[in-house]
Symmetry: C2
Subunit: 609 residues, 2 copies
C-alpha cells in the first residue's frame, strides 16, 4: 500500500519537507494548506517538485467550517471551495479533506449537512476532485466518525466519502469496530497518528502532543486492522502535530515516521493473519543479553583503576586496535583509546548485544532504516556487524564464544588469562544489568520506537525525574525476560548549559554489600556520596530496622522496593560522561530505582560543579 505523510508533520520549508519525505521512501504526501500559503513555490512548482521526487500529492487539507450553514453562508462557502479547487488543480491534488465544522454558524441538522456536502461533491466532481469528510474530535455537531458516516451515506455522492483519522477516533474512545461496516470505496483517506496518554482537553492534546504510531498509547494497530478488513486500498498517511517535531530536522523526522509506519504495518499484519496484504519486514531478533559495553577513553588508567576496584580483571588486548578487554563473571567492558569520541573524557561508544542470529538482527535494523555502519574491524577480525542507535551509540550484534559462530573475543589476545573462559572471579559482579543512555531532547520518542521496533524491546512507563535544574524524562525498554534492559533519559535544555548527558553501565552484583565495601577500601573508584538526609527520610518511609539502615548509611547504598522485591544500588562518580552503577535485585524487583534518581542527580551536579 502507498505510504504517505502530511507536510505539517515536519519542520522547515515546503521544499525541505518534500525532499525529506521522498528521501525517507514515502510514495505520497498530504499538502497542508498553511505550508503552501507561506511557501515561495507556486502550486505548479510544488506539483513539479513532487513529481520529480516521485511523490504523489495524495490530499490537500484542510477545508474548514463548510457544512450545515444558512443559505447566505453556503454561497460564501462554495465560493471559498471554488478557490480551493482551483489551487488543487494547479497542485495536481484530487482529494480534499473537509473537517466537520467547528463554527457557531453551523446548525445541528444532519439532513442539511448531507445536502450541502452533496452540493460540494457535485462541484468537486467537475474538477475531478473527491471530498474526504472527517469528524474532528472537537467538531461542533459532528465529532464521531460514525456520525460522519451517516451523513456521507445520506448524501450518497460518488465524489464524497470519509477521511478516518486514528487520533480523532481513538482520542474519543469511539468504538472502532463499526469501521468494518463502511464499504472500502467510501473510505477516501486514512490518517494515522498516535499520542501519549495525557490528561488534557482533546484539541490541545491533538495540536501539541500527537506522535508517530508506536510512540504513544493509542491502539493505532487495532484501528488500522479494522480499516484494512474493509478492503481499503488507499494510502496510509501519517498526520502528526507535535511541538518537538516542528523543531527537529525534517530528514530525521521523516525517517522516524517511516520506521513507525513499517512497524505499524507489521503489527497490523499480525492481527490480520492470512488476510493481510501487507509485506512484513524481516522479523525482529530479540537479543538475549549484553555481550559488552565499550567505553571510549583518552587513556586506560583511570577507568582501569575503577574496574579493578570493582573486581574486574584485564583479560585481553585487541590484536589490531588499542582496545582492552576487562571481565568479571559475564560482564565485559572494553576500553578503547583509539576513538575520537573520548575527546571530552570517557564516553559510552558502543554496546554489544548477544543475538541468536546476528545477520538477522542487521537485516531487521536495515529494513527499519537504521544506518548499518561500516565494519571497523581489520581484515583478520571476526565479522561483526553494527548499526547506529539514535543517539549515535554503536550497537553490535554478537554471539560470544558459541560453537556455531565466530566470536568477537577471538580478536583479543589473552592478557594473563584467556578471555571467554573468565578469570577466577575476584569480585561479586555477575553481568551487565542495564545500560542508560541520554538522548537529545528532540529524539526521545524516536529512541524508544527505535529500540522497540528494531530490537523488539518493550517500552515501559515514561517517567519524569526532578533534577535540580529541570524535569528529566526517562523511559526503560527491556526484553520480557529482563536479560536486556536499557534506560533512555532525555536531558532538558537548561538555561545555563547544564545539559545532563551522562551515560552509565549498571553492573549486577550478587553481594552489593561486599562490592560497596571493596569500592570504599580500594581507592580506585570514588563512590558517589549520598546525603545523610536521604537515610533520615528512608527511615521515615520504610521500617527497615536500625541494623540494615546503619549498613545502608555506612556504605552509601540506596534502597527501593516494588511489589516483586527489593533493590539496592550505588554509583561511582562520573568520569567524562560515564559512571558505573552497582545494583542488586532481591526477589523479582523490576524497576531501576527511579525514586532515588533525584538523589543521584543532585549528588552528581554537586560533584561535577
Amino acid at each position: 500500500m502507498r505510504r504517505s505523510i502530511a507536510t505539517v508533520s515536519l519542520s522547515g520549508t515546503l521544499a525541505d519537507k518534500l525532499t525529506a519525505v521522498a528521501a525517507a521512501g514515502f510514495q505520497g504526501v498530504e499538502i497542508f494548506h498553511n505550508d503552501l500559503v507561506v511557501s515561495s513555490m507556486s502550486p505548479e512548482e510544488v506539483r513539479a517538485r513532487a513529481a520529480d521526487l516521485g511523490l504523489a500529492v495524495e490530499l490537500y487539507q484542510p477545508f474548514r467550517d463548510f457544512e450545515a450553514v444558512p443559505p447566505r453562508l453556503l454561497a460564501e462557502n462554495l465560493r471559498r471551495a471554488e478557490h480551493t479547487f482551483a489551487v488543487m488543480e494547479r497542485l495536481g491534488a484530487t482529494r480534499l479533506l473537509v473537517c466537520s465544522s467547528v463554527s457557531p454558524a453551523a446548525v445541528d441538522d444532519d439532513a442539511l449537512a448531507a445536502e450541502q456536502l452533496r452540493a460540494l461533491a457535485d462541484r468537486a466532481a467537475r474538477h475531478g476532485i473527491t471530498i474526504a469528510y472527517e469528524a474532528l474530535a472537537w467538531g461542533r455537531h459532528v465529532s464521531d466518525y460514525r456520525h460522519a458516516w451517516r451523513i456521507v451515506r445520506a448524501a450518497d455522492h460518488p465524489n464524497l466519502g470519509l477521511c478516518l483519522d486514528s487520533f480523532h477516533i481513538l482520542a474519543r474512545d469511539a468504538d472502532p469496530y463499526a469501521i468494518e461496516t463502511i464499504p472500502a470505496e467510501k473510505i477516501v483517506f486514512l490518517q494515522l497518528a498516535d499520542a501519549p496518554a495525557l490528561p488534557m482537553d482533546v484539541l490541545y492534546w491533538s495540536r501539541h502532543y500527537r506522535c508517530f504510531p508506536g510512540q504513544g498509547d493509542l491502539d493505532v494497530t487495532g484501528l488500522l486492522a479494522h480499516v484494512l478488513r474493509t478492503g481499503y486500498e488507499g494510502p496510509l498517511s501519517l498526520e502528526v502535530f507535535n511541538d518537538i517535531f516542528r523543531q527537529a530536522a525534517a530528514m530525521r523526522t521523516a525517517q522516524d515516521a517511516m520506521r513507525s509506519l513499517i512497524f505499524l504495518e507489521e503489527a497490523a499484519g499480525r492481527r490480520l493473519g492470512g488476510a493481510s496484504r501487507l509485506t512484513p519486514p524481516p522479523p525482529p531478533v530479540v537479543p538475549t543479553g549484553f555481550a559488552f559495553a565499550e567505553l571510549a577513553v583518552p587513556e586506560t588508567g583511570p577507568l582501569g583503576d575503577q574496574l579493578t576496584a570493582l573486581g574486574f580483571a584485564r583479560t585481553g588486548t585487541h590484536s589490531g586496535k588499542p582496545v582492552e578487554l576487562w571481565e568479571q563473571g559475564e560482564a565485559r567492558i572494553l576500553l578503547n583509546t583509539g576513538s575520537a569520541e573520548s575527546e571530552d573524557g570517557p564516553a559510552l561508544a558502543a554496546i554489544g548485544l548477544e543475538s541468536p542470529d546476528p545477520a538477522g538482527s542487521v537485516r531487521r535494523a536495515e529494513a527499519l532504516l537504521s544506518p548499518v555502519l561500516p565494519r571497523r574491524r581489520g581484515p583478520r577480525d571476526a565479522p561483526l556487524d553494527s548499526v547506529a542507535a539514535p543517539d549515535g551509540t554503536e550497537l553490535f550484534f554478537c554471539r560470544t564464544a558459541r560453537p556455531d559462530h565466530s566470536s568477537w573475543t577471538d580478536d583479543f589476545r589473552t592478557g594473563g588469562c584467556a578471555p571467554s573462559s573468565p578469570p577466577e572471579p575476584s569480585g561479586e559482579i555477575t553481568h551487565i544489568d542495564h545500560v542508560a543512555l541520554t538522548q537529545p531532547w528532540h529524539h526521545f520518542d524516536e529512541a524508544s520506537l527505535f529500540y522497540r521496533s528494531v530490537l523488539g524491546l518493550r517500552p515501559h512507563e515514561s517517567l519524569e525525574l526532578p533534577d535540580p535544574y529541570g524535569l528529566l524524562r526517562s523511559r526503560a525498554v527491556s526484553t520480557d525476560d529482563g536479560r536486556v534492559r536499557m534506560a533512555l533519559n532525555v536531558a532538558h535544555v537548561g538555561s545555563h548549559d547544564r545539559d545532563v548527558a551522562w551515560q552509565h553501565v549498571a553492573l549486577a552484583s550478587r553481594d552489593i554489600v561486599a562490592t560497596a565495601r571493596r569500592l570504599r577500601t580500594s581507592g580506585g573508584a570514588a563512590p558517589l556520596p549520598v546525603p545523610g538526609n536521604y537515610y533520615d527520610d528512608l527511615k521515615a518511609r520504610h521500617d527497615l530496622g536500625p541494623e540494615r539502615l546503619r549498613l545502608l548509611r555506612e556504605l552509601g547504598l540506596l534502597y527501593d522496593r516494588d511489589e516483586h522485591g527489593e533493590f539496592l544500588h550505588c554509583y561511582t562518580v562520573t568520569t567524562g560522561r560515564v559512571f558505573f552503577e552497582i545494583v542488586q535485585r532481591i526477589g523479582g524487583y523490576r524497576g531501576y530505582g527511579a525514586p532515588n534518581a533525584p538523589i543521584r542527580l543532585a549528588a552528581q551536579h554537586a560533584h561535577s560543579s
Copy 2:
C-alpha cells in the same frame, strides 16, 4: 506582612535557593521536603544558613496521605509524623503542611479525618508545631477548602488550622467568598500561585504550568483580598511548580517572584481600600507614547539608507556621542555607532518612552526590582534615566520638547533642520506604532509581568504562531489608549540553532500605499517578499475586490481585519537582528496582524538562510 517563597519554585541546590530568596528580599522560606532530602546540608546547617541570611523557615512541606485511615495505617502514619517532627525541630520549622489524602486507603469520613488530625495536632503541639491542613484540588475525598475547614473546625485543636492555596481554590472555581467566614487564627498559612488558562487536568496543570501571580489568568488578587479581610497576618508565600522556572537561574526567578508579590499586594490593597494594611510601592506612571527607538549599528550607512527610503531625514547629531537622530512626523530613530551591542549587526538597544513624570517612572521601576542603569550621558547632557528590561533593552523615560522638563533632544546639534520642530515631512510616517522584542524562552512570563507592573501596560492574549522551525509564543502589552504598544515574542530553542531573535520597530503610515511605493522605487530598503500563494489564499478568505487585491499583491502588502477595522502592513528585510514594519490601522483595528505572522516568519527564514 512577611514575604515568603517555597524552595520548589526555584532551580538549583537548596543552598543556591536560599541565597537567591534572601537576595530578592524575601523574609521567609518554605522548605520543600525533596529539596532537603537531596541536599548535602543537614537540617541544622539549613537552619543556620537561613538564619545567617535573615530568613525565617516559615513552613516545612508536604506531609502526605495522613488522615481518615484504618487504625493500623494510623499508627504507621503517626510514626512517619514523628520522624517529620524530628526533622522540623532540627530545621527550626514550626508549621507543617498536611495535604488532603490522595490515598486509596483513605475513607470518606469527615469525623474520622477530624479525629485523626486532632491526634496529629496533639503530637505536633508537644514539638511546638502547628499543622496547616490543605485541600488539594485533586484530593481523594477532600478537594475544596470549605470541606477542609469543616474538618478543621470539627477537630477543634489550637495546633491545627488551614493552609489556603490560591491555585487549589481558583483552579476548581471554588467560591472564594467563604474564606471571609474563617477566623484569621485558623488560617495557618497562605500559598499564592497563578496559572494560565489551559484546558487540562488540574493535577497535570498544577505540576507543570503554575506561574507567579500576575503572569496567569487566575484572580489571585481577589483571593488575597478575601484572606486579608479575615485579619490574617501570617506570611504571604509563593508556591509555584513550573517546568521553565525549574530550569532558569534561581537569582533571577526569585526577583521575578518578588516583583509579582509586590504587584499583587498593591492590587489587593486597592481592592481593600482604606482597610488595607499593605504599604504600596510608588504608583505606576503610564507612558504616553514613544519618544524614540535607538538602534545600535556598526555603521550608519545601510540603516540610514533604509530610513531615507522610508521618508526619514537626519535631523541631528549628538553633541558628545556617535549618535544620529532621524525624524519623520513624531517617529524618531537614533542610530548609535558607539555601542558594543552592534557586534552582530544592527540591534534594537534602547526605547525612549514619553513619561508624564520621568523621575516617578524610575522610582516605580526601582521599587519593582528593575535595575536602574547608570546614566550614559556626558556631564553637559540632559538628565535621562533608564532601566533595563528583562531582555536587556534599555528603557528611557523622557519628556520630549516640553517646557516643564529638559529634553533629550537638547543634546542633539541640528543637522540641516532643528530637531523637535520636525522637518517638512518627506513621507507618510506619523509615529512609532509599536516595537517588538524577542525574549529569551525562559523569561517570557517575566517579561509580560515586567511591562505590566513597571509600566502599567495591559497584557493581551498569549498567541502561538507557527514558524517553519517551531511554534513561537507571542503576547502584546499596551496602554489602554494604544499610544504605547509592544509585542513580546519568545523564540523556541530549535534543534538547529535557528533561534529567532528578531526585533522590530513598526512605523505608522497614514498612507501605506504611498510608503510601499516609495520603498519599491527608492532602492534603499528592500521590502520583504510576500509569496503569491498568500494572495490566492487572501482572495479565498476575504472578498476584497479585484482592484484592491491587485494593489496589495503588487505592493507586497499584507491584510487583516477585526471587528473594529482593517490593517495593512509590510516589512523590510532584516539587517542584523532588526527590521522595520510599516502599518496602517484603518478604523479602530486593535491587533498586530498575527494571522500574517507565519507568512513573515517563513519569508524571513528564506531570506536569511
